[in-house]
């Protein structure tokens, strides 16, 4: 076998992350001269499998119900032992991040996460990732195989469609549910339909916003005008002004919008680590020396309280 396997939790569908994951997997498989396979878990696996079959050589679906950490890990371990891939690539959702090191351990491989590049040098897998909160970049050599790697899937280009669609198979696994740990309630806090990571425009607020109200009264109407999603810095989330799901940064969402509008965000490196793949960054900040401006395409040095209401007026006028 020794293929490259990508592993996906099906709930998000064939989104930008799934497409980027397949693209990264295909390029790695090509450089190894091997096939690209996909493992799809969870509800929605069959729909996602048919989309994936257009870009991967073989899809295996696992009918394991909703994600449970221990049961899912056991299923994935068993399947990977049967398939014995050289590399397993996962995306950067919660479940993939949680499962990656444990899967590597069970397979006797090496794991690494948050990769922006994966390639093979001779027999050795090498990955590139940001370290020190985005201040530096490291190339890491994996010493064991399989390489089990979660990547910033959305920043990878998608794969080209195949001439002939790949085969779809359902895995026959017999995994008893693990009763030690189980998820008893799942709550989705979404902002409309799109996810922050899929957003084309993001309006984001930081500590300088000063409280929860301006997020509602000032930033939200601006975001609505731009068809944007809302984000926030860690400081704003830790203050409890907005939900933690809005957090952008090293330990929050890694986003890839066309425009990231940072309002009253200083731009600490851990925050910048979450937006390094944004096409354009713009900022509104009172401090001309704020680090955020070093990463901006354009910006304005001014109190956001003065700028944002006026900006909304100007945007409405331009819409006409």
């Amino acid at each position: 076998m020794n293929a490259v396997d990508i592993c996906l939790f099906a709930q998000a569908g064939f989104d930008k992350a799934a497409q980027g994951l397949a693209g990264a997997g295909r390029r790695l498989a090509n450089s190894l001269g091997t096939e690209l396979h996909a493992i799809v878990l969870g509800p929605g696996a069959h729909a996602l499998a048919s989309d994936l079959s257009l870009v991967v050589d073989k899809v295996v679906t696992v009918d394991q119900g909703e994600y449970e950490p221990e049961t899912c890990l056991s299923a994935l371990t068993q399947l990977c032992r049967e398939l014995s891939p050289r590399a397993v690539l996962l995306a950067n959702d919660t479940y993939s991040q949680e499962i990656t090191p444990r899967l590597a351990h069970r397979l006797g491989g090496s794991a690494v996460g948050d990769c922006v590049d994966v390639h093979v040098d001779g027999e050795t897998f090498e990955v590139t990732r940001q370290v020190y909160g985005g201040k530096a970049q490291a190339v890491i050599q994996l010493k064991r195989q399989p390489a089990v790697v979660w990547i910033r899937a959305r920043s990878f280009a998608p794969a080209n469609p195949l001439a002939v669609a790949g085969e779809i198979k359902q895995a026959a696994l017999d995994i008893p549910p693990d009763t030690r740990t189980r998820i008893i309630e799942r709550k989705r806090e979404t902002q409309g339909e799109a996810r922050l990571e899929e957003a084309r425009v993001i309006v984001s607020g930081g500590r300088g916003i000063g409280g929860p109200e301006p997020f509602d009264l000032e930033l939200k109407p601006l975001a609505d005008l731009l068809g944007a999603q809302m984000g926030a810095s860690r400081a704003a989330c830790d203050a409890g002004w907005v939900p933690p799901t809005w957090q952008v940064g090293q330990t929050g969402k890694k986003v890839t919008p066309d425009l990231y509008l940072a309002i009253a965000i200083t731009g600490a490196s851990q925050h910048m680590a979450g937006i390094s793949e944004a096409k354009n960054i713009a900022a509104i900040n009172t401090d001309p020396d704020a680090p955020i401006f070093k990463h901006c395409r354009f910006g304005i040095v001014e109190d956001y309280r003065k700028v944002v209401p006026l900006l909304r007026e100007k945007l409405v006028a331009l819409q006409k």
Partner: protein
């Protein structure tokens, strides 16, 4: 409830990028003028443990570090925050051991320290940010693991864990023993210890072990790179020059800002 919290001492990640230097040979950051601090997510874990103990009125909290001799300061601070016991495993080999090495050392130290119901780590460290200690430690100890937890409550003999997901949150019920990785939220911002408690903490006993005191393959641990190795470390060049929008009045400047936004988004 016997709780163990793993702490990592790191270079202060808040130092400005302009002061950040790397040692291209050793493949690590230069200390420079930066302070050594406890990794913030480890402190979030400790704070979560302290609140759990306060809420339930009982429990013992042990803090554990694997690191340089300076890591004693992280443990003393944790004692000042009112952890009960502290243990330091001195790293006398590779100062940046890979995640599997760290997990093996921590697992061996935990076995030697006793039996714990709840083993807590931070979700990742502010230096290398690998985010693997929790998962690998769970595998080394043969325990279940839940990541990105921000609140823990006792429910009979079991634990209720609230954890953040990329789309919201989940509530889990788990048997003990369990390994939990903790993330930040508004409730677990670490408390500041009193000056008096910091001074007092230096009088408290602190267990100190070397690698040789633990049941691990000492040579492999000292090499610290059987799992992965940093082959290159660099500071990426950023080439971005910010255009500060110009105009005689605020109105004109914001008008330009609006036009720039429309240009790059084409959303209107």
């Amino acid at each position: 409830m016997n709780i163990l919290v793993c702490l990592k001492q790191i270079l202060d990640p808040e130092i400005p990028a302009r002061d950040f230097r790397i040692d291209p040979v050793k493949h690590e950051a230069e200390r420079g003028a930066a302070n050594l601090v406890t990794n913030i997510f480890c402190e979030n874990a400790l704070e979560t443990a302290l609140q759990f103990r306060e809420h339930h009125g009982t429990g013992t909290i042990t803090v554990l570090c694997y690191g340089a001799a300076t890591a004693e300061d992280s443990l003393r601070k944790a004692l000042a925050m009112k952890a009960d016991n502290a243990a330091l495993v001195l790293n006398d080999g590779n100062q940046n051991p890979d995640p599997l090495t760290v997990a093996r050392v921590l697992a061996a130290a935990i076995r030697k320290l006793g039996a714990f119901d709840l083993i807590m780590v931070g979700r990742e460290a502010g230096d290398w940010g690998a985010g693997q200690t929790g998962g690998l430690l769970a595998e080394e100890l043969g325990l279940p693991c839940v990541s990105f937890v921000d609140r823990i409550e006792s429910n009979g003999g079991k634990l209720r864990l609230n954890r953040q997901t990329d789309t919201g949150w989940e509530l889990l019920e788990t048997e003990v023993p369990v390994v939990v990785s903790v993330t930040n939220d508004e409730h677990n911002v670490p408390r500041i210890p009193k000056v008096r408690d910091v001074m007092m903490s230096y009088r408290q006993p602190l267990t100190q072990w070397g690698i040789g005191d633990l049941d691990v393959a000492a040579d492999e641990v000292r090499a610290g790179n059987s799992y992965y190795e940093v082959a290159e470390l660099s500071i990426p060049e950023k080439e971005s020059r910010c255009e500060f929008v110009t105009g005689d009045t605020l109105d004109e400047r914001v008008e330009t800002l609006a036009r720039r936004i429309v240009e790059v988004t084409r959303a209107l």
